[in-house]
């Protein structure tokens, strides 16, 4: 069992997300993460789906996805050289006494503070899954009030000069 990242190109039409989600639910495949948005071509959306399974399961997932009329292309990009990103927003308890400490931490992670409340700060960070976890862990001791994260998006790196 291994986590795979699938880049799925679909028609940018209502209902397509439901079709994909229904397929996963019906066949019993578990989605670890899913992000979807329009691409450079507005008639096309790109889904980045993380799904865990052995090679056989992933092969089935991708074949079943291909059978959906609105799915244009499915690529397993797990083994590619990728740039992956997630966005996380964390509302953390921040009394004046600990604020500077939090600000320092945020700088280390090259994250940003996007809102300052009376006793709270909202931290925004982007990066890969590892960095997201690290930030979350280091802010935990201050008291996380709310946390939201997008699914992962990924893109294959361009070829390099050789």
């Amino acid at each position: 069992m291994k986590k795979h990242t699938l880049a799925v190109t679909v028609e940018n039409k209502p209902g397509v997300l439901t079709r994909v989600a229904t397929l996963f639910r019906r066949r019993g495949y578990n989605i670890d993460s899913l992000a979807v948005g329009e691409t450079e071509n507005p008639s096309v959306s790109r889904m980045t789906i993380d799904v865990t399974g052995d090679d056989k399961i992933i092969e089935q997932v991708s074949k079943q996805l291909y059978k959906l009329v609105d799915v244009i292309k499915v690529v397993d990009i797990t083994e590619e050289r990728l740039v992956t990103r997630e966005l996380i927003l964390i509302k953390v308890k921040a009394d004046p006494s600990v604020r500077s400490e939090i600000v320092q931490l945020v700088e280390i992670f090259r994250a940003r503070i996007v809102d300052i409340g009376k006793n709270t700060l909202i931290v925004e960070a982007t990066g890969d899954a590892g960095k997201m976890e690290a930030i979350e862990d280091s802010l935990k001791p201050f008291g996380i009030l709310e946390l939201v994260r997008t699914g992962k998006i990924a893109i294959v790196r361009g070829p390099q000069n050789s």
Binding site: R26, Y66, V69, D70
Partner: protein, 560 residues
């Protein structure tokens, strides 16, 4: 040319070659019915929308064309659901039109609103909600294209009432298919074909395992050529039943849970399994680890997702079955002689034929009824079935001569399928006898379609194998639940003869074996109305052989 959406719909159907649709009207499809009033497309008014779906499905099964049905929004649409799921499981090309509330009302829980697109998403090949009248022609074209190509299946098109009323400028030549995510499979991997032919030429104990894909692909001829050239025994699934003549020396009948002993033994012993248009369903394979344990497997199917789904195969070939078989047939060497393998199979056939005893209650044995039907119609009738024991006996004892002749709900196992299916089949093939082999339970699930058969003077014959039980369930209770017949006794039932007569059909009751032949002969002479024959069969007859679910195919129950 200015036309209403509904008129464009009917013109588009005509362009698709549709001559018959099965349906039931209601508020949201009024504009379509109004257009039908002047159309030369024949509309068959059923008595329940489920009947429309099954009739359209059967129409497709016997003709190979795409079946069409229509229902109103809300309850009309939801009544189609079982029929859609039935067609989906058996990969039957069908386009179902549903009315929908007017577009401004969608999502407001309007009167008779149901989200039929959402409901049918997992049981269709694809579905559409019409958003603009301008799209009617394109969507109809795409719907038929999707339903009928690659692995066929049902497509639902949901039509809001206002968009059917709306008039637009219509250009009949201006509807292009626009489906970049859907490509029709052409050709196949010829490297794989060569490999397959090589293995076929060398194998000593080959078996062909043929399914519904052979029929969908109209490849019965090619299958026969392969079998006869190499003298390969052929076993079929329930769905593949009429793909190979039951009277051919090479026929092994059905395999699997209710397969013949010789078919299941052959699977156990073969060194090569040629799986054609099949999906290794659990009812076929039994315990998967012990299925065809000594065999290399060639798997031919149009649907790449079927390859490796349930079993690992050695040589997958993705492609249209007909094309692939033609390519293989060109590369195989003819064998003249039958060999040791055939002797082994002959021995099994001799020792373990399909057989049945006599009734301890002095009643008719249900198997005998099917044998008689098979003889009297010389294997040339269209047989539809209900679900349960009746269905399995039909598969065992009817010797089909022609493909597209066995119309049965294989994947979903839908009780109530047989009668509306018989009507759809008879409308498609008025010159062939059409017989529904029914159970006393199943027939009551869509009995109202007798009304349809009367209205259109459709002479289908309904043979009820009346055991006064939900027989197949009762059989499982006998075998696996200590004979505790919990809610399977349905002896409290209508008088089927009177019921038939109340509709205006011919009703007959047959209580003795001697009367079976005469009753059937008489029924086959009726040309202007349906006939219901109530055969009082042995109540406790069981379907054997039987493999318990999850067991190896070699562990068959029933006397040897």
């Amino acid at each position: 040319m200015k036309l209403k959406g509904a008129e464009i719909l009917l013109q588009s159907l005509k362009q698709e070659g549709v001559d018959t649709i099965f349906g039931y009207p209601g508020g949201t499809v009024l504009p379509i019915y109004d257009a039908l009033y002047d159309s030369d497309i024949r509309h068959i008014l059923v008595r329940h929308e489920q009947g429309a779906a099954h009739a359209a499905d059967a129409y497709a099964r016997v003709t190979g064309k795409t079946g069409v049905c229509i229902a109103t929004s809300g309850p009309g649409a939801t009544n189609l659901v079982t029929g859609i799921a039935t067609a989906n499981m058996d990969s039957i090309p069908m386009v179902c039109f549903t009315g929908q509330v007017a577009s401004p009302l969608i999502g407001r829980d309007a009167f008779q609103e149901a989200d039929i697109t959402g409901i049918t998403m997992p049981i269709t090949k694809h579905n559409y909600v019409l958003e603009r009248t301008e799209d009617v022609a394109r969507i109809v074209k795409e719907a038929f294209y999707i339903a009928s190509t690659n692995r066929p299946g049902p497509v639902v098109v949901d039509l809001p009432k206002d968009l059917m009323e709306k008039e637009i400028d219509y250009d009949p030549y201006n509807s292009e298919i626009n489906l970049r995510g859907y490509r029709v499979m052409k050709g196949c991997n010829y490297g794989q074909v060569v490999l397959a032919a090589g293995i076929i030429n060398k194998s000593e104990r080959p078996v062909i395992y043929a399914g519904g894909g052979v029929i969908a692909s109209d490849a019965a001829e090619e299958l026969k050529e392969l079998a006869e050239k190499r003298k390969i025994p052929v076993t079929t699934t329930l769905m593949g039943m009429s793909a190979f003549p039951g009277t051919n020396y090479l026929s092994l009948g059905m395999l699997g849970m209710h397969g013949t002993r010789y078919a299941n033994y052959a699977i156990g012993e073969c060194d090569l399994l040629i799986a054609v248009g099949v999906r290794f369903d659990d009812r076929v394979t039994g315990k998967i680890a012990e299925f065809a344990p000594h065999a290399r497997i060639i798997h031919i199917d149009i649907d790449a997702a079927e390859i490796g789904k349930n079993v690992d195969v050695h040589i997958p070939i993705v492609g249209e079955v007909k094309e692939v078989l033609q390519a293989i047939n060109k590369r195989i060497e003819t064998v003249e002689e039958f060999g040791e393998w055939h002797q082994t199979i002959d021995r099994w056939k001799g020792e373990y034929p399909l057989r049945y005893g006599t009734s301890s209650e002095g009643r008719i044995m249900p198997q005998h009824v099917i044998e008689k039907i098979s003889d009297l119609t010389q294997g040339e009738a269209i047989i539809t079935t209900e679900v349960g024991q009746n269905q399995m006996w039909a598969a065992h004892y009817y010797k089909f001569k022609n493909p597209r002749s066995f119309v049965t709900s294989g994947g979903l196992g839908t009780m109530g399928f047989g009668l509306p299916a018989a009507i759809g089949a008879k409308i498609a093939c008025p010159d062939r006898p059409v017989i529904d082999i029914a159970g006393d339970g199943s027939i009551q699930m869509n009995i109202q379609e007798l009304g349809t058969a009367i209205a259109y003077k459709i002479p289908v014959i309904i043979c009820i194998l009346n055991n006064q039980y939900l027989g197949m369930v009762r059989q499982w209770q006998s075998l696996f639940y200590g004979g505790r017949f919990s809610y399977t006794d349905i002896s409290n039932q209508p008088d089927f003869v009177k019921l038939a007569e109340a509709y205006g059909a011919v009703g007959m009751r047959v209580k003795t074996t001697q009367e079976v032949d005469g009753a059937l002969r008489e029924a086959l002479k009726v040309t202007d109305r349906p006939v219901v024959i109530d055969f009082w069969v042995d109540r406790m007859a069981d379907v054997y052989p039987m493999v318990a679910p999850g067991e190896s195919l070699l562990n068959m129950l029933g006397e040897e």
